[in-house]
């Protein structure tokens, strides 16, 4: 069996094998690079067909278009903070609870991630919609006289994004927490540190890479979100992906859509670099990353 597996490489120098094996990956990367290049090329086509930066000027000069970007960044930031607030406690609980409970929570999160996204969002409409369980309960209890407007607003979209992307934060933080030596906390306690001191001075700094990683994932996914604002925004919350889709598909304005997508890509890169830079700075400051000499 082993002999038959090695047959294709018998006449190839062992030094070449890694390069040969990376050919499929290079092929994929080339396709991605060509796609990105064609996106950028299309974005420099003006309305008359001439090359130029008209589309970028259109977007930057138009307050509505600028508004789509600002709104997307704002909503993505809210979703990220929300995911940290709701996700981190779950991750910490998972780390310090029994193994069976940890498995149960992990299974639930994985199920959540693998369940159909549209159904998840619709289930949220059934919960927090104008005619949803929460509003019906509030009306029945006489606490409100008309349904509380939760969805079809920015709040609804943020809740949807936290539900959709929050699991990535939990998994990211949880994976880092699993690698922290449990004796560190015990040692700190023995030396007189209280529970909060252990949390804030040991666990939180050491789990920061997980929070940073989770934040980048949640921010980027939320920034590019299309389905959630479409379903939970009720047509009132237009994020940049909806704008790109409308321009590319409904209005057939590929150059403008490409320019918007290119700007979004640049914003995403800036976010990643900034967060990483901030995380490095913070890490050096609190002593979990060695200071560069």
């Amino acid at each position: 069996m082993t002999a038959s597996l090695t047959v294709p490489f018998t006449r190839v120098s062992p030094r070449l094998i890694p390069y040969l094996l990376s050919i499929p990956a290079l092929g994929l990367l080339s396709i991605l690079a060509i796609a990105l290049a064609s996106l950028f090329a299309a974005s420099f086509r003006g309305d008359s067909g001439a090359l130029g930066v008209d589309q970028y000027r259109n977007i930057i000069g138009d307050p509505t278009y600028r508004g789509y970007f600002l709104k997307s960044i704002k909503i993505a930031a809210y979703a990220c903070v929300g995911s940290i607030i709701f996700g981190c406690p779950i991750a910490y609980y998972m780390e310090f609870t029994s193994r069976s409970r940890r498995r149960l929570i992990l299974m639930f999160i994985v199920l959540l991630l693998f369940s159909d996204y549209v159904m998840r969002v619709y289930s949220l409409i059934l919960m927090i919609g104008n005619n949803g369980i929460i509003n019906r309960a509030l009306l029945w209890l006489g606490l409100v006289h008309e349904p509380v407007h939760i969805i079809y607003s920015e709040l609804g979209v943020v809740i949807g994004l936290i539900l959709g992307n929050g699991p990535f934060m939990i998994l990211s933080v949880s994976s880092i927490l699993g690698r922290i030596d449990p004796h560190l906390g015990q040692a700190a306690s023995l030396l007189g540190a209280g529970k909060w001191a252990v949390f804030f001075r040991i666990l939180l700094p050491l789990s920061a890479p997980g929070i940073v990683g989770g934040s980048i994932i949640v921010l980027l996914l939320s920034l590019n979100a299309y389905l959630t604002p479409e379903l939970l925004g009720g047509g009132f919350v237009r994020m940049i992906a909806s704008f790109v889709y409308d321009e590319a598909i409904s209005s057939w304005n590929l150059p403008l859509a490409s320019a918007a997508a290119a700007i979004l890509l640049v914003i995403a890169c800036i976010i990643v670099v900034t967060i990483n830079g901030f995380a490095d700075w913070l890490g050096r400051r609190i002593g979990i990353i060695p200071v560069k000499r």
Binding site: G129, N131, Y152, G234, G235, I249, S250, W252
Partner: protein, 352 residues
């Protein structure tokens, strides 16, 4: 240790098998490669999915295959403009022959050089269609109209005219379409109501700004509109095809109205694309325009046939307004202005 099945132990039989395999592969390849064989055997139809495709299969595709022996391959798109984008992406090697679509995307496809011109002389059933619906860019398939559907309990006063939508009692209760929905038909309606036309949308845009305080949500598709209404998120579906109302009519909770003074009426149509099976495409379109296919599809899809020989489905009789109430959209003018309408709508109307 080797067994008799390993290559070196049975070299001759293995060679024979390889030769036989190569011959079979060559024959198969020759068969599959033969363009004439492919052209005679199939037609590729690009169409709406969901129940629409189910009805199409039952009422048109299967009987057509049975009658002609031509196999129909159905490919599905989510919405017509997305379908247009897909076709444009494969412009130089179109592998679709017939596009079941709406007039505006068909007109845009023709402008892009994606379709072949149609003529009445190529379609024997075209003689039974209104001449205005047999154009080089498309041929009409069926007719449908839009009305208002409301929840009777939530709107006790009912709705009789389009102007009723502006009632202060309906604040935060309306589901409104996006500008892209139905390729701008709601924008056209607003223009008509405000005294404008398809050529000048200013009056319609001024009017819609007075309607948005009543909006609870904007919908992009028929399904979304129905879901909003049935889940109680909206009390009034402001622009619904009668066919979408029929499934919810049984509950008795909702009412369909074809409001005064007129109902926007349009058609869905077929475009003959520059595919590889031109003749089969024509045969398919002609079959779909025949009396039997028209009546069967109209009954299932709750639409109106456009073949004058075909009878309208009984299920629609109760809801269809008098002929004088139908007002047809100038699809050509709408196609010219759609992009501008969508951009303007997104900037001026769908804002919170």
């Amino acid at each position: 240790m080797r067994t008799s099945k390993e290559p070196s132990a049975g070299r001759k039989p293995a060679l024979c098998t390889r030769k036989a395999g190569a011959v079979v592969a060559l024959l198969l390849g020759a068969c599959l490669w033969s363009p004439s064989l492919q052209a005679q055997e199939k037609v590729v139809v690009f169409t709406f999915g969901g129940t629409w495709l189910d009805y199409m299969k039952k009422d048109i595709i299967e009987p057509f295959q049975k009658e002609t022996g031509i196999q129909v391959e159905a490919r599905v798109f989510q919405n017509t403009m997305e379908g247009l984008a897909q076709l444009k992406a494969q412009k130089n090697n179109l592998n679709v022959d017939v596009w079941a679509t709406s007039p505006i995307p068909a007109l845009l496809a023709a402008k892009e050089g994606l379709s072949d011109p149609l003529s009445a002389s190529e379609l024997s059933n075209a003689q039974y269609l209104p001449t205005s619906l047999v154009k080089p860019e498309y041929v009409g398939w069926y007719k449908f109209f839009f009305g208002v559907v409301y929840n009777k309990a939530a709107v006790p006063g009912g709705i009789r005219t389009w102007k009723d939508l502006w009632s202060p009692d309906l604040k935060g209760k309306l589901g409104l379409p996006t500008a892209a929905y139905g390729q701008g038909k709601f924008v056209v309606l607003l223009n008509w109501l405000a005294g404008g036309t398809e050529q000048n949308a200013d009056p319609g845009f001024a009017l819609v700004k007075t309607l948005t305080p009543n909006a609870a949500a904007f919908f992009h598709s028929d399904t979304e509109e129905s879901k909003f209404l049935e889940s109680g998120e909206i009390a009034v579906a402001s622009f619904m095809m009668v066919g979408d109302y029929l499934p919810m009519a049984e509950s008795g909770k909702y009412e369909f109205v074809a409001p005064d003074p007129y109902v926007p009426t349009t058609v869905d149509c077929f475009a003959l694309l520059k595919g590889k099976n031109h003749e089969n495409g024509l045969k398919f379109i002609n079959y779909a325009l025949g009396k039997a296919a028209q009546e069967a599809f109209a009954a299932d899809g709750a639409v109106l046939p456009i073949n004058s020989q075909a009878a309208a489905p009984a299920s629609l009789a109760k809801y269809a307004p008098p002929e004088s109430h139908y007002r047809y959209v100038d699809e050509g003018a709408a196609a010219d202005h759609l992009q501008g309408w969508i951009e303007r709508w997104n900037k001026e109307v769908q804002v919170q």
